[in-house]
């Protein structure tokens, strides 16, 4: 083994690495960013659980139990009402995570040592958080019961739970909307970026520019097949989800497909922008991957709930298109809601699509510089 040669090689590789500023930045920044994100920001434990309380006969016992929840600093009461009718709209709108429904005779039964009934309904569209909410709730109730027992009172609190929207806590239900978002962005942004930059690298883009074609025509022509492809992918993914995994479809499929197209347009525009600012296929691929897939998996709420993120990180999630699409997809598939509930998210996605498409069209200049 020629040690001189070996040393020469090591030195050479070090030079290559240190002199490639772009790659170096990514290699050093990425672990740092990931450590920060995973260490501080992305958690599975939850902190701000929004609770609706339905208390037909409030008295100091029910209030006492409620204050136990509040004092854990994890629960926050967002609404109180005397009728259970308020719950469903709040759940569907995503304004509440958990509902605490007291039986009308809760207080009196508590005093008379009869079973005091309590219904806990949880939004389990994300089964991970749903389970966590349930566990915290049970813990609070159990400690309340233990306290009362320690005071030599015989009490019996009977809790019934309902996991709304996802009674069997299927995690696949959680993942499918996120996966659709991921697949769409992969096909649209990544492939578009690669296809456009390949044209530039090969030199054929020069010939296309020196022709009657306007750059916008070139972009649309290259991007349209990917729109069709993405659409086909959504159909396949949904079909697989429904046929193989029995993911529920409670809302309008037509609406879901329409929103998917909207989201795809956003991703396509991103792909075109990436191709416009990068100078090689390799750079386009790296940028597309890092710029779309990474935020889409980490910051979209697909895996790590946004509710668990620190407040400084939450604004960043607003610019991640997948974040809005996942809310829409989960809403339609698991909660069966429509535009009346999802109009805000749809509007945001539409605005993103228009802005990005306009920017993408502008970015492709009719000249080489």
């Amino acid at each position: 083994m020629n040690l001189n040669a070996l040393r020469a090689f090591v030195v050479k590789e070090l030079h290559h690495i240190l002199r490639d500023r772009q790659t170096l930045t990514i290699l050093l920044m990425m672990p740092l960013v990931q450590v920060i994100l995973f260490g501080y920001a992305l958690r599975s434990d939850v902190r701000d659980i929004r609770m609706v309380v339905v208390d037909p006969t409030p008295d100091h016992a029910t209030l006492e139990l409620q204050s136990r929840f509040i004092s854990t600093n994890r629960f926050r009461i967002v609404a109180t009402s005397q009728s259970p009718n308020t719950i469903e709209p709040l759940f569907r709108r995503g304004s509440a995570d958990i509902a605490l429904i007291f039986d009308p005779d809760f207080a009196s039964h508590l005093k008379s040592a009869e079973p005091a009934r309590l219904l806990v309904a949880i939004d389990a569209s994300d089964p991970n958080t749903g389970t966590t909410y349930l566990n915290y709730t049970r813990a609070v109730i159990a400690s309340y019961q233990a306290e009362l027992t320690a005071q030599n009172r015989r009490v019996q609190i009977v809790t019934e739970t309902r996991m709304r929207f996802n009674p069997t806590l299927e995690s696949v239900n959680l993942f499918v909307p996120g996966l659709i978002a991921l697949v769409l962005v992969l096909v649209s942004a990544l492939m578009t970026a690669i296809s456009l930059s390949r044209e530039k690298e090969r030199g054929t883009m020069e010939v296309l520019l020196v022709s009657p074609l306007k750059p916008q025509q070139i972009i649309v022509g290259k991007v349209l097949p990917y729109l069709v492809l993405a659409f086909a992918n959504v159909l396949t993914a949904l079909l697989a989800a429904w046929a193989v995994f029995h993911v529920p479809f409670r809302g309008s499929i037509a609406l879901l497909l329409a929103e998917s197209i909207l989201y795809t347009l956003v991703s396509l525009a991103l792909g075109v922008l990436v191709a416009a600012v990068t100078s090689s296929q390799r750079a386009a691929m790296l940028t597309a991957l890092l710029g779309t897939m990474l935020p889409n998996t980490l910051l979209s709420g697909m895996i790590f709930p946004i509710a668990s993120m620190p407040s400084w990180l939450v604004p960043f999630t607003y610019v991640v298109p997948a974040r809005w699409f996942i809310v829409i997809a989960r809403g339609i598939m698991l909660k069966g809601v429509g535009l009346t509930i999802l109009w805000r998210e749809t509007l945001i996605l539409s605005a993103m699509a228009l802005l990005l498409l306009a920017a993408a069209m502008r970015s492709f200049k009719p000249r080489m510089e």
């Binding site: 090969r202 020069e206 010939v207 296309l208 510089e369």
Partner: protein, 320 residues
């Protein structure tokens, strides 16, 4: 007779590098015009300005009477452009490539067939073969067909013969001659000096500057110093001896001989040739032939470059 191309004091820089420096030239309608120079001379930059892909920093240019900056859309539909490296789609077949480029210009292969037939017929038997599987010569013919199919008013070909074998190169220039005969204006760039002889007029370009513009056979006319060709055994030794000759200005290898340029502009070439024979005899180098010759394109190019060695290295241009 209007000019198909007019270039006036064109300048273009990329960062600190001047790719084009005060370039001016004209191409007449129906002319076969050659742009001759090595890599980095500025040929591709000039072509990109003429095809409206780049904007010049200084100066102006018109193609077919249209300004390259203001009227670029009009120019783009009338130009046939072949960039360096044959822009073809490797995973499409010969026929698919041609049909695509025809469609891009809003026409069909049938409409352009008559014009491209002499070239395309040679590759038509391979119409279903993928472009990546073609030889260099066939790619060249396909790329030319794609540039011609929409019947352009002017052809701009950037180094169409680079990296292609000698036979294909000859055939290509034969085709260009035929096209010119039909009245088409053609501007070609090439690093091969011998191809300059096949053009009506030639511009020698080096380091972003135009050295000379003339019909190829006139280029040598400006060569004022005596030029002598030397033949003999042991060429390298002859070369080294010649360089020691007191009046030598430049001595270079040239095919199977050496070309010697004398410093004295007033000396007669025959006298110099005789002097050299005596010089060799005195050094014991027998059997050396010397004869005065007229300067060829390469001689002129080298003389115009400056017979001093090329300047110290500078950063290369990002586009040549």
């Amino acid at each position: 007779m209007t000019n198909a191309v007019e270039v006036r004091a064109l300048g273009k820089s990329f960062g600190p590098v001047k790719a084009l420096d005060d370039v001016s030239l004209d191409v007449s309608e129906g002319e076969l015009f050659g742009l001759v120079g090595p890599d980095g001379a500025g040929k591709t930059t000039l072509f990109r300005i003429l095809t409206t892909l780049l904007i010049p920093d200084t100066g102006s240019a018109t193609v077919l009477g249209l300004d390259v900056v203001k009227d670029f859309w009009k120019i783009r539909s009338r130009v046939g452009y072949m960039p360096g490296g044959f822009a073809l789609y490797p995973d499409l077949s010969v026929a698919e490539n041609l049909e695509f480029f025809a469609a891009v210009f809003g026409t069909t292969v049938e409409k352009g067939y008559e014009l491209i037939a002499p070239i395309y017929k040679q590759i038509e038997p391979f119409r279903d073969r993928r472009a990546e599987a073609l030889s260099g010569g066939m790619k060249q013919k396909l790329a030319l067909s794609c540039a011609l199919v929409h019947r352009p008013d002017i052809l701009l070909l950037d180094e169409p013969t680079t990296g292609v074998d000698a036979v294909s190169r000859r055939e290509f220039w034969d085709q260009l001659g035929n096209l010119k005969a039909s009245g088409l204006t053609i501007v070609v760039s090439t690093p091969y000096m011998d191809e300059a002889l096949r053009c009506d007029r030639v511009a020698l370009i080096h380091g972003g500057k135009i050295l000379e513009v003339d019909p190829p056979h006139s280029i040598g006319a400006r060569y004022t110093l005596p030029l002598v060709a030397v033949r003999g055994a042991n060429r390298f030794e002859l070369l080294q001896s010649l360089r020691k000759f007191p009046h030598a200005r430049a001595v270079y290898l040239f095919g199977d001989e050496l070309h010697y340029t004398d410093r004295r502009s007033d000396a007669s070439p025959e006298a110099v040739a005789a002097e050299l024979r005596e010089y060799f005899a005195s050094r014991g180098q027998e059997d050396v032939e010397t004869r005065p010759i007229a300067a060829g394109i390469e001689d002129s190019f080298m003389e115009l470059m400056g017979s001093a060695p090329p300047p110290p290295p500078r950063p290369t241009a990002t586009a040549a």
